[in-house]
Amino acid sequence: MKRHHIMAVVLLVAVALVCTLAAREFMAMNQPDEIIPGPGVKTVGALSNYLGNLAGTSSNASVYYLDSGKPGATVLVLGGTHPNEPAGFMTAVVLTEHVSVLEGRLIVIPQVCASGFTCTDPLEGYPQSFSLQSKSKVRTFRFGSRGSNPIPEWPDPLVFLQYPSGQQLSGNETRNLNRSYPGRPDGTVTERIAYAVMQLIDREKVDYAFDLHEAAPEIPIINAIVTHEKGKDIAANALFTLETENLQFALEMSPVNFHGLSHREWGDRSAAFPFLMETSNPIQGRLRGKTDATLVLRGTDEKYKEAAQLGTMRITYELTGEPLARRVARHLRGLQAILSASMESAPEKRIVLDGLPTYEQVLEQGVGAYLQ
């Protein structure tokens, strides 16, 4: 063998080794997170009940039904529309594992964009998971990518044409669930998830639908409740209640000409009143420093601290950090305030939750205290 042949063989072996080792880490993300149904869960279904062709795919998210058996409102809560926004899906996990329903019905999909939980976004340096101590053990949850996994339909088009509006967005938004509503049954994986959610809203006669998010601290709509025209009064009343508790929320109306978003399309195309909430998530931000699982949990970041003190731009970042517990507490409290406000405007549609921890409780005891 000549020298360059030996070199080639050595390089090939090295590449094979690197691929094997890295592949094991990537493949590990296909293992679903353990979500333990709490006392309130009566049945567990899946999105494929609403769109058959999701069965057997990595996009077939579990749906948890918390039914009181008594008449009332039907409420839908989505977590994990964006799997890199942990407070969104952890709030939904707390609802699934800890809460019961006394009147009405609660449907929770903690990881609605299930396929997005199977990978992380390249170039972002994200951790693959984070762990917290629950009542009984250490619970680990995956930290996913903003969109669904690119592999099943790779490559993305250069430009994403939103269906049916024809609106042009950057190609990777093809995999963004919150740009894909109302979706279509034979569309992309993400459009099919969106379609299944629309079907669920219709078939289960959902009255109030929540989409729980987080955003980078520099995004202006943080700590806002975004709603459709028809949800304005309810949201405004909820805001009033929250303000008396010194919780700052802002009311944002869904832009009429920005298509594919849950608050726009659910509002336009179903009977449900849509509400989307955002909290401040430093690990999503572009100014963040060292990126690791601690940043997910504690939300303390030196770079954001610096940027927030500069005042060059509006940054929603408390100098002590934005811990996961507070973000989840905000989501839970916001959800509860909106539900109370909804019962004032439509008293016949009651939804009463039992075991919902208060804002202060979550802050003091952490999210883990409300997991099985």
Binding site: E25, P155, L169, G289, A307
Partner: protein, 421 residues
């Protein structure tokens, strides 16, 4: 000294040492500096992050590979030389028109795909021989093509950096045509006229034609250009009539064009041609792999945030200057748009955000020319046969400065700019 600065400096030092002392290809140097950055940042050798980062620009890598094959096929079939010949022959009497035409011609693939490298590999490669035949020095030709590639990426209808910024700030891609045209066409025109005046008095057509390959359209007829027509038609079709023409992806479009090119001109050995093409594209593809790792490690260790906050930290008087210097320093239009473009839109909140975003995309676009990767310079140097990509960067400095001044002016006077169109 902030720890992030130490990480950054060690990454840059390893890069410089590898390129200048060890004479390693810059792609490999980027890989090494990413590994060192991770070590200094206390991450050990994070295999998963390195591999993940290397996939960051996979789509661009595929486009480059297939575009290169396509151009080699066009070259081998005789279409490339014939087109250059016809272009010179029909426009040599009006050098000004010729240069304006060549400029927009080079920009065209970038306007359609939003990819700067596509300009250099396709239309850039096509006009380079003709420009060299006019006795314009190779580094100058390379710089011309590289600048047009940047302007083509910025020009409407498709501008990926704007879409990346828009994705970060929830701004739909609507109403950008005019400000993007304003940020690209006038600058392209100035560069074109500069080349016309600086390098060309009158064109000695016989001499120029004698240095170009012999035309073959008489032998093969119009079908010689079928592959080019097919590729352009498909690229337009997936944009204009997406309801009838699904987006089959730019790589597949180039491969279809290459296959057609096998039977429309001179005979070509497809395997040999592909091998040459990939071999020539390899250094640039490795750069993209390396940049991906480099950016991922910068993000992981907090260097990215350090740079971004550093830009915001500049005193207001230096803000514009700082942006002009820091934003291109990311060495990649996409990385720069995503890391600095998004926060900067908020910094300039209150000004017309469509104009601001368009101008920011131009500054980010300049990043594709800059070291460490020098992506466009590396490509252009290959096309014009210039060994040292720094020569091309050097020639481009005046145009880069001009473009940055134009972009900064657009941001500073955004609200007046709106009234211009």
């Amino acid at each position: 000294m902030p720890y992030e600065l130490l990480i950054l400096l060690s990454m840059l030092a390893v890069f410089a040492l590898s390129v200048f002392l060890l004479k390693l290809p810059s792609g490999v140097a980027l890989v090494l500096s990413a590994i060192v950055g991770a070590l200094v940042g206390g991450e050990g050798v994070p295999l998963r992050h390195l591999v993940e980062g290397s996939f960051g620009y996979l789509d661009a890598i595929l486009i480059i590979a297939t575009a290169m094959i396509f151009m080699k096929v066009l070259d081998g079939s005789g279409a490339l030389g014939t087109l250059g010949h016809l272009l010179m022959k029909s426009l040599y009497r009006w050098p000004t028109v010729l240069f304006i035409f060549i400029s927009f011609f080079v920009m065209f693939p970038g306007m359609l795909t939003g990819l700067s490298s596509a300009c250099i590999l396709t239309t850039g490669a096509l006009v380079a021989p003709a420009m060299l035949a006019m006795r314009i020095p190779a580094p100058a030709v390379g710089s011309f093509i590289a600048m047009m590639a940047v302007y083509g990426m910025i020009a409407p209808p498709i501008n990926i950096p704007v879409m990346i910024i828009g994705g970060g700030v929830d701004m739909p891609y609507i109403g950008f045509e005019r400000p993007l045209a304003l940020a690209s066409f006038p600058l392209a025109l100035i560069v074109a006229l500069y080349y016309r005046i600086r390098y060309v008095r009158s064109i000695q057509i016989e001499e120029v034609l004698s240095r170009l390959p012999a035309p073959l359209h008489a032998k093969h007829g119009l079908k010689l250009f079928a592959p080019l027509v097919l590729v352009v038609v498909l690229m337009i079709a997936i944009r204009v009539v997406p309801q009838y023409m699904p987006d089959i992806g730019i790589p597949l479009i180039f491969m279809l064009g290459s296959l057609v090119g096998l039977v429309t001109g001179e005979r070509i050995d497809f395997w040999q041609t592909s091998r040459t093409a990939i071999r020539e594209a390899l250094p640039v593809m490795v750069i993209l792999v390396g940049v991906g790792m480099f950016v991922q490690i910068m993000t992981l260790t907090g260097v990215r945030g350090f740079l971004a906050v550093g830009a915001l930290n500049l005193p207001p008087a230096f803000l514009y200057l700082g942006i002009a210097l820091l934003m291109p320093a990311f060495g990649s239009a996409y990385a720069s748009a995503s890391v600095l473009g998004v926060p900067l839109v908020y910094v300039f909140l209150g000004k017309n955000e469509i104009v601001v975003t368009s101008a920011l995309s131009l500054i980010a676009g300049i990043g594709d020319l800059m070291p460490p990767p020098m992506l466009l310079c590396a490509f252009a140097s290959q096309i014009v046969g210039e060994k040292n990509p720094f020569q091309i960067l050097k020639r481009s400095v005046p145009f880069i400065v001009l473009s940055l001044i134009a972009a900064i002016a657009m941001i500073a006077f955004a609200d007046s700019v709106v009234k211009l169109y």
